[in-house]
Amino acid sequence: MNEERIPLSVLAPGEVGVVRQLAGGRGFMSRLAALGFTLGVEVTMVQNFGRGPLIVLVRDTRVALGRGEAAKVLVGRTTNG
């Protein structure tokens, strides 16, 4: 098992990532934290058309994120091998 660290914005719908890092200012981190994004939390991609904003599921809440915002959330995608 090893973990690949990627921006949340590249997850495909249905894929699950674990938040490893929030890159951005304190205000940004604080807003995300209040909506449930903290280190170690599981995020499921719900809608991602490859451009424009996207929708994720985190702590039972559907959250819409701009693509730029989602790119600042680094997640671990667990792969076998």
Partner: protein
């Protein structure tokens, strides 16, 4: 409601234990979309008072109820996800609790998203007021397959937990009782409080040691230390002022070293939440597809979502024109015009100025307010319904990529779109936009959306000036308005509001059935706000403009208004416009339709229709006519909109800014069009 027992507390024998209290204050807190306003409405009914937080653009609702001889005053705090100084709403909510010290804080949480909702509770518990938890939407949680044991949660949290379904009026009585008990100090109130993640405890302790004794009242010291570590700007600058230089340097060094400490603080809170709900919440791990998921496949789709949105907007405008417009005409004919007629006949023989003052000035102004009502009711109902159902967030999501280009948030789209009907609900609808700057920006650009009244003026004048090309010109004018809206939106965003990038992070709440009571109350409150605040300004301004148009001689041609128009002559000359056209613009301030009436009075010799067309087509070159129409599209909006801007921004400065901005922009565009046309030799 059954707890509305208005009793005289003196006539009741107080038990020796209870304090003698006549009034307590309860603050109602909660994240957005948890049904907080439904709970507030159930508790207070029509005893509500809606205003603004002092000096802020954010709405403040207060109300009262009586319980066991105690008058309970409820203050509805803005819905916020946390209590960091990220937004004005958050600052208002926490300042209220810290500085006003309510007797009890009621936190309403959504049982179906309990984990995230308890984050706010975790923050509330570090403030100096006892908390009662209203566990709302228990029915939704059950539908989602979650089973929650309120008693287990109550035992873990160490504070009263009341299960509720506010939309079905369940649990409200129990909530009122719990508030009463806590406010009297009955029962055990020993809340468990979250701690910062273990790896940051030493740092927090060090900060607490450094700031000890320097924290101004009434802020709690440990809370200030935590907020410093979270990077809270307001608290950081407060402590920078309070601490001596050497001490601040030490604090600052620690903060710089731990820039991501917010993650430790937030992580600590979620660890605590995990411990609190572990025993209380049971949920089967099933991947069932919910209604929200199924609806969102369509509603948030980049293509179908847009179509759905356009369909809804089409429906709203269809309703406006099939129901609203005829009602408006009926009101105008049978109430306003009939009223004016009645005044004229009743005052037969009275001085002409008095009859004119009452019939044209007062009834004209009041009538304008009244004829606005049907359209406002339709728009406010549509807005309230879409908000309550949960669709508003989807519309914002679908439109965000377009609005973003103008520095606006996706949520600004719906209110701005309503502006095509009328600018007044557009300005009032800006309340749905989160963040004070984004809301202000929406209010400032809203008057640039061409409303039906402006379009009506164009519809009359364009054929007179441009004959067969009228449709092309009208379309071009709408396009011009929208381009100016985009340019001014971008410019204001950059220059005035600091160019701060508004991060698009938005909860998409679960869809739910609309609650008629909530929607009706929101429509009612907005109407009252419009009538009370805007209504009086409209009345005063229309009387003043009427007076200027008849004083001193009784004829508009020799009036003060005409004198002002002549003063503006040199400005008009730059656009090829005579003073009459400037007067027409000035009177359009009362109502856009006045433009045509004024031109009729000033140009024709008393006869209607064809004569006006004849007279007008002779006095203006095509270039000047185009400039005039452009100015009239971009000119300051009608007084109703300006009054609403004042009401919503709670600031005369921003209102004056808005008016000045539109004056400058409209004349600049008018001059540019006329002079440009002269340069290329078109239409002269």
């Amino acid at each position: 409601m059954d707890n509305d027992q208005i009793q005289d507390s003196k006539s009741k024998i107080q038990s020796p234990k209870s304090k003698i209290r006549n009034q307590i204050t309860v603050a109602l807190a909660g994240q957005p979309n948890v049904g907080k306003s439904t709970v507030f409405n159930l508790l207070t009914g029509l005893s509500q008072h809606v205003g603004n937080w002092p000096g802020k653009t954010i709405e403040q609702k207060t109300g009262t109820y009586n319980y066991n001889g105690t008058k309970v005053r409820i203050v509805d705090l803005p819905g916020t996800y946390s209590l960091t100084a990220n937004s004005l709403e958050e600052r208002i909510a926490r300042d209220y609790i810290i500085k006003e010290r309510p007797d009890v804080v009621v936190a309403i949480v959504d049982a179906a998203a309990l984990e995230r909702n308890l984050y706010l509770v975790a923050e509330l518990l570090s403030l100096p007021a006892p908390v009662v938890l209203g566990l709302n939407m228990m029915d939704v949680a059950e539908q989602q397959g979650m089973h929650i044991e309120p008693h287990v949660l109550e035992a873990a949290l160490g504070l009263p937990v009341v299960p509720m379904v506010a939309t079905k009026n369940q649990g409200v009585r129990e909530l009122v009782e719990a508030v009463d008990r806590v406010s009297q100090g009955e029962g055990t109130y020993a809340p468990s409080r979250p701690e910062i993640r273990e790896d940051h405890r030493m740092v927090l302790a060090e900060l607490q040691r450094l700031i000890a004794g320097a924290v101004p009242a009434p802020y709690p010291e440990d809370w200030v230390a935590l907020k410093l570590l979270e990077g809270d700007e307001e608290i950081t600058s407060m402590m920078q002022e309070r601490l001596d230089e050497a001490c601040w340097q030490e604090v600052h060094a620690i903060l710089m070293q731990h820039e991501d400490a917010i993650l430790a603080v937030a992580g600590g809170r979620y660890e605590w939440i995990g411990r609190m709900i572990r025993a209380a919440v049971a949920r089967p791990r099933v991947g069932q597809i919910t209604l929200t998921e199924r609806l969102d496949r369509w509603a948030t789709h980049p293509f179908w979502g847009l179509l759905i949105l356009l369909g809804m907007l089409g429906l709203i405008f269809w309703l406006t024109y099939t129901i609203g417009a005829p009602l408006q005409e009926l009101l105008d004919t049978y109430l306003v015009q009939a009223g004016a007629e009645w005044v004229r006949s009743a005052l037969n023989g009275a001085p002409a100025w008095l009859v004119g003052f009452l019939a044209d000035g007062v009834i004209g102004g009041a009538g304008m307010v009244i004829t606005f009502l049907p359209i406002l009711v339709i728009f406010f109902t549509a807005l309230g319904l879409l908000e309550d159902v949960g669709y508003m967030a989807r519309a914002a999501y679908v439109m965000d990529r377009f609005m973003h280009l103008m520095g606006l948030h996706g949520k600004s789209f719906l209110p701005l779109f309503l502006g095509f009907g009328c600018n007044v609900p557009a300005v009032m609808g800006a309340r749905v936009v989160e963040g004070e700057r984004a809301r202000l920006l929406t209010i400032l650009v809203a008057p640039l959306v061409p409303c039906t009244a402006r379009m009506a003026v164009v519809a009359v004048l364009a054929p007179i000036f441009f004959g067969p090309h009228a449709a092309l010109v009208s379309g071009g004018l709408v396009g011009l308005s929208l381009v100016m809206l985009a340019i001014i939106g971008i410019a204001l965003h950059e220059l005035v509001l600091g160019g701060e990038h508004v991060a698009f992070i938005m909860e998409l709440p679960l869809y739910h059935l609309p609650n008629a009571r909530t929607i009706c109350l929101s429509v009612w409150q907005r109407l009252v706000a419009f009538l009370k605040k805007a209504g009086s300004i409209i009345l005063v301004v229309s009387v003043v403009v009427w007076a200027l148009s008849v004083l001193p001689g009784g004829e508009i041609e020799s009036s003060y208004l005409a004198a002002i128009g002549r003063l503006l002559g040199p400005l008009g000359a730059l656009m090829g416009l005579g003073w009459q056209m400037m007067v027409a613009l000035l009177t359009s301030f009362v109502a856009k339709e006045n433009t045509i009436a004024t031109l009729g009075v000033l140009y024709s010799t008393g006869e209607e229709g064809a004569r006006l067309a004849e007279a007008l087509s002779g006095v203006l070159t095509p270039a000047a006519a185009l400039a005039f129409l452009a100015v009239q599209m971009l000119f300051i909006p009608c007084v109703a909109t300006v009054a609403t801007v004042r009401q919503e921004t709670a600031s005369w400065r921003w209102t004056a800014f808005s008016v000045a901005l539109l004056l400058v922009v409209s004349f600049a565009v008018g001059i540019a069009i006329y002079q440009g046309a002269m340069l290329v030799g078109w239409g002269v």
